[in-house]
C-alpha cells in the first residue's frame, strides 16, 4: 500500500514536469519564407456553453449532496470527501473560475453598467448557493467551495480565538465586500479576482508576490482555521446574513442536548454559541443601558462613516485606470523636463481628445463620491452592529451552532454522543 502511494506520488510529480520536458526547443527560430503571411492573433475560445451548464449542474448536485450529508446523514466523512471533489473540480479542473465569490462583481457590474451583460451561468453561480443557504445554512461553505476545502486541508492545529478578536477581524469581509462592490459598480476593477490567493495556485501562474502571500495566508491557516472564509470572504458576508434566517439549519445534537460539553471545543471556527442561562437583574440593566447607548450611537456611526467615505473618495478613485491616467496627464504637463510615461504616449497615440477623457473622469469621480459615502455609511453601520452583537448576550440553554458564522461542516457532530432514537 505504501509502495503504491510512493509510485502514485512519483507519477504525479513526473506528470507536472512532463509538459516542460516536451516543450518545443526555442532555437532555431521558425523559418519565414518569402511570401509568409503573419497569422491573425488567436484568442482562446470561450468555454463551450454545454460545459458551462454542466458546471452549474455539478454545482447544484454538489450542493444537494452536501445538504443531504449534513442535514440527513450527519456525515463528516461524507462532507470531507465531497469537499475534496469540489477542490479537484471547481479548484484545479475549473481553475477557480467561475466562482460564486467573484460572481458578486459580475452581478454588480451588470446592475450598474448598461454595456455589460452577465452570462446566465454566472448568475446561477451567484444565486444558487444563496438560495441553498437561505434554505439549509452554509452547506456551500462546508463542502462545495474549493477555497474552503483548500484551507481545511492545512488547518492542522486550529486555535480558539476570543469573541472580540473574532468580531474585530470579522469586520474585514464587510470592508472587502464594500470595496469590491464600489470598484465593480464603477467598472474600475474586480479586486476579489485580483487578490484571490487560491486561483494562482489552481492555475500555477500567479506572480511571485501572490504565491508568497498565498503561502503566508495558508501558513496562518494552520492555526487560524479558514482565515480567508472567516475574515476576508465577501461572499461569506451574504451567506452569513441569509444563513441567520435559514429554514432548516444543522444542529450539533440530533435530539435533545444533554449538556455534556463534549462539543465545546469541537468547532475550529469558533462558531458554537454557548448556553447563557444566568439571570442577573443588575447585569441585565447594565446591558440594556449599553444597548440603548449603542442604538443611539448607530446613526452617528453611519453618518460619520459616510462623511469619512466622502473624504477618502479621491484615494479610492485613484484605483480607476482612467482617473489615474488623467492625474498622470496633469502631472506630466507640470514636469515637462521628465520623459513622457508610456501610459501617456499610448493615450496620445489613441487619438482620444484629452477633454473627452477629463469629462469621463469627472463622471467617474462623481460616482466615486456617491459610492464612497454609501461605503463609509455601510462600514459605520457594520461597526455599530458588531458592537451591539458583542454587548447583547441572548438567553439560550443549549450548545448551538451560530447560524451566521457556522459553515455547516459537521465537524462538531462527531463529538455529540446523543443518538437519535
Amino acid at each position: 500500500m505504501r509502495h503504491k502511494t510512493v509510485i502514485v506520488f512519483i507519477l504525479l510529480i513526473l506528470g507536472i514536469f512532463l509538459p516542460s520536458v516536451m516543450g518545443v526547443q526555442r532555437f532555431p527560430k521558425p523559418e519565414f519564407e518569402s511570401g509568409y503571411v503573419e497569422p491573425e492573433t488567436q484568442f482562446p475560445v470561450p468555454r463551450a456553453e454545454f460545459l458551462a451548464w454542466m458546471d452549474v449542474a455539478v454545482l447544484l448536485l454538489s450542493l444537494s449532496l452536501a445538504t443531504f450529508l449534513v442535514l440527513k446523514k450527519r456525515s463528516r466523512l461524507g462532507v470531507f470527501w465531497l469537499s475534496l471533489f469540489s477542490l479537484a473540480y471547481f479548484g484545479f479542473y475549473r481553475q477557480g473560475c467561475v466562482c460564486s465569490i467573484g460572481a458578486i462583481q459580475n452581478v454588480t457590474l451588470a446592475l450598474f453598467s448598461g454595456s455589460y451583460t452577465i452570462p446566465l451561468t454566472v448568475l446561477f453561480f451567484f444565486l444558487v448557493p444563496l438560495v441553498f443557504t437561505l434554505l439549509f445554512g452554509r452547506t456551500f461553505c462546508a463542502a462545495v467551495c474549493p477555497f474552503g476545502a483548500f484551507q481545511d486541508l492545512v488547518a492542522v492545529k486550529p486555535m480558539p480565538m476570543g469573541a472580540w478578536l473574532n468580531a474585530f477581524l470579522g469586520m474585514i469581509p464587510y470592508l472587502y465586500l464594500g470595496l469590491a462592490l464600489l470598484f465593480a459598480a464603477t467598472a474600475t476593477d474586480f479586486i476579489i479576482c485580483r487578490y484571490d490567493p487560491f486561483v494562482g495556485i489552481f492555475r500555477m501562474n500567479a506572480s511571485f508576490g501572490m504565491f508568497l502571500f498565498a503561502g503566508v495566508l495558508l501558513l496562518s491557516g494552520i492555526f487560524i482555521a479558514r482565515p480567508y472564509c472567516r475574515f476576508l470572504c465577501p461572499y461569506g458576508v451574504l451567506l452569513n446574513w441569509l444563513s441567520r434566517f435559514s429554514w432548516k439549519h444543522m444542529n450539533i445534537t440530533p435530539a435533545e442536548c444533554i449538556q455534556c460539553r463534549l462539543c465545546e471545543n469541537a468547532c475550529p471556527y469558533d462558531a458554537i454559541d454557548f448556553p447563557q442561562t444566568k439571570k442577573d437583574p443588575a447585569g441585565r440593566r447594565k446591558q440594556v443601558n449599553r444597548l440603548i447607548l449603542l442604538a443611539l450611537l448607530l446613526p452617528l456611526l453611519v453618518l460619520g462613516g459616510a462623511w469619512t467615505g466622502g473624504l477618502i473618495h479621491s484615494t479610492l478613485s485613484g484605483v480607476n485606470s482612467k482617473v489615474r491616467l488623467a492625474r498622470l496627464l496633469q502631472t506630466a504637463s507640470v514636469s515637462k523636463d521628465q520623459p513622457e510615461p508610456p501610459e501617456i504616449t499610448a493615450f496620445r497615440s489613441s487619438g482620444i481628445a484629452q477633454q473627452q477623457l477629463m469629462a469621463e473622469v469627472a463622471t467617474i469621480e462623481h460616482d466615486f463620491l456617491t459610492g464612497s459615502r454609501i461605503f463609509g455609511g455601510f462600514i459605520g453601520l457594520v461597526f455599530g452592529m458588531t458592537l451591539i452583537g458583542l454587548v447583547r448576550t441572548p438567553y439560550r440553554t443549549d450548545y448551538v451552532p451560530n447560524r451566521g458564522t457556522c459553515f455547516s461542516c459537521a465537524k462538531c457532530m462527531d463529538y455529540c454522543p446523543v443518538i437519535k432514537s
Binding site: 532555431p28 480565538m161 487578490y195 492555526f223 475574515f231 508610456p342
Partner: protein, 322 residues
C-alpha cells in the same frame, strides 16, 4: 502562553496578507519615468573577458554614411557608402575618392584589384582608378544585397531579401543559387530575420556564409553543397546572441574568422575550426545600438572595423602582452 504566542503570530501573518492587498491596491503605482516594457541591455553588455587587441587611432573617411570596408595586403583600405567610394593608405591618408550613383551596401576586391560593389538591388564592377566596368541587372524586385565576395572568376552575392546567395561569373551571368532549402541535399536554408547577411571567401577559396538565424557560419562547395558549419546560440562570449548573429565576418590570411555582432556589440576572433580565440572589442568599445560593423583584414594582422555610428574605420591590432 505558547499557544497565545502562536495565535498572535498567525494573526500577524493574516494581517500581513491584508496589508499587502491594501498596499498593492492603493499605494503601489508604476514609476512614472520607467518604461516597464523596456528591454534593458545594460547587464547583458557587461563582460568579464578582457580584449586581446588594442585599438589604434581610427581612420576618418570623408565619405558620409559608410557601409562597407575592404582591405588588401599592401595596406590599402577601400570604403564604400552613400554616393561614393574612398581609398585610403595604411595611415588613413586619402588616395582616391570617386562618386557612385546610389547607395553602396557592400564591396569586395577581386584578386586582380577590380572592385565589386553591391548596390541594394544590383551589382556594379569598378576599376581601382574609379572607372565603371559594368552594371548588372537588378537581381530581383525584393532583393536586398548585403554582401559580396569574389574569387578569380566567380562573384558571390548575398541577398537578404531572398535569403539566398547567387553565384555569378565575372560578366554577371548567373551560375548557381546557393543555400536554397533542399531536404534531399540536407540544406536547411538560410534564416535571415534582419538585413545582415554576409559572405566571404577563405584563403583556400572556400565559400562561407553567415546563417544568422541559426547563429552559425556555413561552408558551401561551389556547386552549393553544404559542407560544414560552426557556431552556436549563446549569451556566453563563445556563442552568438540576439535575434540573429554574426551580422558580419571576415576571414584572416591564416583561415581564422573575425566576427561582429549587433545587439550586444562584440568583435571576436575564432580559429579556422570555429573555436573561440580572442575578444577584439567588447560592447563598451561601441555606442549602444551600433549595427552593421563591417569587417576587413588589414595588413600586418590589423583588423578593420567599420563603425557606422561614429562614421569611422576603427583599427585593432593584437595586444603584445597577450
Amino acid at each position: 502562553m505558547k499557544k497565545k504566542t502562536i495565535l498572535i503570530f498567525a494573526i500577524m501573518l493574516f494581517l500581513v496578507f491584508v496589508a499587502w492587498m491594501l498596499r498593492d491596491l492603493f499605494m503601489v503605482r508604476p514609476e512614472l519615468q520607467k518604461n516597464p516594457y523596456d528591454y534593458g541591455m545594460t547587464a547583458l553588455r557587461k563582460t568579464d573577458t578582457v580584449p586581446s587587441y588594442t585599438e589604434l587611432s581610427p581612420l576618418k573617411p570623408v565619405l558620409r554614411e559608410i557601409t562597407s570596408v575592404a582591405g588588401n595586403q599592401d595596406g590599402k583600405i577601400y570604403i564604400a557608402g552613400k554616393g561614393g567610394v574612398e581609398i585610403l593608405d595604411v595611415s588613413g591618408r586619402m588616395l582616391k575618392h570617386f562618386p557612385i550613383r546610389g547607395y553602396a551596401t557592400c564591396l569586395t576586391l577581386m584578386p586582380d584589384g577590380t572592385l565589386v560593389i553591391g548596390m541594394e538591388d544590383h551589382v556594379e564592377l569598378w576599376s581601382p582608378s574609379g572607372n565603371i566596368i559594368s552594371v548588372w541587372q537588378a537581381v530581383d524586385t525584393n532583393s536586398m544585397i548585403t554582401s559580396v565576395a569574389a574569387t578569380q572568376n566567380l562573384i558571390f552575392v548575398a541577398d537578404a531579401g531572398k535569403k539566398i546567395v547567387y553565384q555569378y561569373d565575372r560578366y554577371g551571368k548567373l551560375q548557381a543559387r546557393i543555400g536554397e532549402k533542399d531536404p534531399v541535399r540536407k540544406i536547411p536554408g538560410f534564416i535571415i530575420p534582419s538585413p545582415y547577411f554576409d559572405v566571404g571567401i577563405s584563403p583556400k577559396g572556400e565559400l562561407w556564409v553567415a546563417n544568422t538565424g541559426r547563429y552559425r557560419l556555413e561552408k558551401y562547395s561551389m556547386d552549393g553543397s553544404l559542407l560544414t558549419s560552426w557556431g552556436e546560440a549563446s549569451m556566453a562570449m563563445e556563442g552568438f546572441a540576439g535575434c540573429c548573429n554574426p551580422s558580419n565576418f571576415t576571414i584572416l590570411p591564416d583561415g581564422s574568422f573575425v566576427t561582429s555582432e549587433k545587439g550586444i556589440e562584440r568583435v571576436k576572433v575564432y580559429s579556422p575550426d570555429g573555436a573561440f580565440v580572442a575578444l577584439v572589442a567588447g560592447p563598451e568599445a561601441f555606442d549602444e545600438g551600433t549595427r552593421g560593423l563591417d569587417l576587413a583584414a588589414g595588413s600586418n594582422g590589423r583588423i578593420l572595423v567599420l563603425d557606422p555610428s561614429r562614421n569611422q574605420i576603427r583599427v585593432f591590432v593584437p595586444d603584445k602582452r597577450n
